[in-house]
Amino acid sequence: MSPDPSSPGPAQTSKARSAPAGKPGSTPYVDPARRAQSRRKTRRDVTVASVSLVLFLTLVVILVSRLPGWPAVQAAFFDPQIFRSSFWPVLQALVVNIKIFLVAEVVILPLGLVVALCRRSTAPVLLPLRFVATVYTDVFRGMPTLLVVFLLGFGVPALNIPGLTPDPLIWGGLALVLSYGAYVGEVFRAGLASVHPSQTMAARSLGLSPLQATRFVVLPQAVRRVVPPLLNDFVSLQKDTALVGVLGPIEALRQAQIISYELFNFTPYVVAALLFIAMTIPLARYTDWLQSRQERRTSVAAPA
């Protein structure tokens, strides 16, 4: 083993060798003194940032609470007693929202992917597919989701087709699937377009069929790239599950409205808002994690 000519110094070579650089995910060697200094700096930064944040928020709270209308707003939106009494009913109704979006998300992903693949097909014989997929995307992405919910939830059962369920949860859920399938289709399409054509060419030159090239080379790269915008759409979907409430089922926002109408107070809506936020946080943190993992993979893995 001859010493690496590019290694910084004799004291560091052994450690540098024990932690091989260039392997994805590994931590490169850092001088302990520098590491300690950087840790001190981090601690100082966090302290300064926290103090600054507390000061800023305190200032905001003081200023807002001094406004003449604040007591009325506080009583209408932040009543602690109503907060407590409405929390449980709204949380119970949130089960309906969770049911809708869990099922919808599972259906939306393959639908969006199929739409994207149809729109990116090039064979002349597949023109009808491209046509249908394009019209679907234009119509359902452009239409207000509420109208889709009304059309499917009130319109379709009124056709009196024998054997068709009038269950509003199913029709409302289907409306969300159609609406968000169009969005997700476009996200997938952007992902597919972002994979360089040379990838397909290389795959084809290795003897893969066009279908195999898409399945094993293009799709994995495309899907990985669009995970953050996909989850973005899903967070939006989670909130839009409240639209199904117009068809009759008591979901979280409707339950909040019922209590709000009973008590003439807006606090139940705040409860619903906090629950909706809480519901989206796991997904948001998961997106962050996926993104940082991807960044680590692409930046550290670069060969020296």
């Binding site: 966090v46 009325a72 707003v73 209408a76 509003p168 117009v246 009759g248 003439f264 107070n265 807006f266």
Partner: protein, 287 residues
């Protein structure tokens, strides 16, 4: 990385503080030993004009053709009768259209008084002023005649098995949950239109609404529907409708006086007979 979660702590603390401190809203009670109720003496949103609010759309038989300014419909007629008692000419009455939320949102109200079948309850009265009641509505059940399980119901027990629909914000929902206590969760709609559609589609078996609306639906809106029955007025609270006013409004005592005068003179009963079906009879549900 742990710094990130540290940063969230103060944020949470501030949010909690915003919720915790109880509001102290001590507004002096409007005092007046002798009641002076004339267009020039009462406090108004727009001086010289009585601004009356209702919903948009407003439904018959309370407002006909969604046009309260016509004076046609029970609530429209009541509003003009009260305005006249207060000394306003019909031309001085202006209508504003508010959502249900606007009637209890904090801040200045865009109306002098409003009426949209709002039931008087103690909780609501903490937030806004109510006039004395101008109508007392019984709750009723509407079903399609062909749905025999629903249309032949005679007792509260018969109703328990049904899928029931109501409009949000109405006391009908309280009625359903407290008096009927159905085995299936009731369906709640933005307005009676949604409930009517679901009734036609077979999503629900019956609608619970106030009796005048029930008669209107069966007579003019849904062919093949029937008023299955009504509940005795004393079965639950919140059957009385009041005019809505800003909390501690200087106008409350005046509209109360106007309503009292209209009741003694028999004018209110006459308006009621004119617009609300009293001819049609609906059986009372037994327990």
């Amino acid at each position: 990385m742990p710094g990130k979660s540290l940063l969230l702590l103060p944020l949470a603390a501030v949010l909690l503080a915003a919720c915790a401190a109880p509001a102290s809203t001590a507004v002096p009670q409007a005092s007046g030993s002798t009641l002076a109720c004339s267009p020039s003496s009462v406090p108004l949103v727009t001086p010289g004009t009585l601004t009356v609010s209702t919903s948009k759309p407003a439904y018959p038989p309370y407002v006909m053709d969604d046009n309260p300014a016509s004076g046609k419909g029970f609530e429209s007629a009541v509003a003009y009768a009260v305005a006249t008692k207060l000394g306003f000419t019909p031309a001085q009455v202006k209508w504003s259209f508010v959502t249900f939320e606007q009637s209890y949102a904090p801040g200045a109200k865009p109306f002098d008084f409003g009426l949209q079948q709002v039931s008087i309850t103690p909780e609501r009265a903490k937030v806004i002023d109510f006039s004395t009641p101008y109508y007392s509505a019984n709750q009723a059940v509407v079903a399609l005649t062909k749905n025999t399980a629903a249309s032949s119901a005679t007792s509260v027990a018969d109703l328990k098995q049904l899928k029931l629909g109501v409009q949000v914000g109405t006391t009908s929902l309280n009625y359903v949950t407290s008096v009927i206590a159905p085995t299936q969760q009731p369906y709640v709609f933005n307005d009676t239109d949604g409930a009517k559609r679901a009734l036609n589609n077979g999503t629900i078996d019956a609608i619970v609404v106030d009796l005048p609306t029930a008669f209107y639906i069966t007579a003019a809106e849904i062919p093949g529907s029937t008023v299955v029955g009504q509940f005795k007025g004393s079965d639950a609270a919140g059957q009385q409708w009041g005019l809505t006013l800003a909390k501690n409004s200087g106008l409350t005592a005046c509209v109360d006086k106007a309503l009292a005068d209209l009741t003694t003179s028999g004018e209110l009963a006459k308006i009621q007979d004119q617009w609300l079906s009293t001819e049609a009879k609906a059986p009372y549900f037994t327990q």
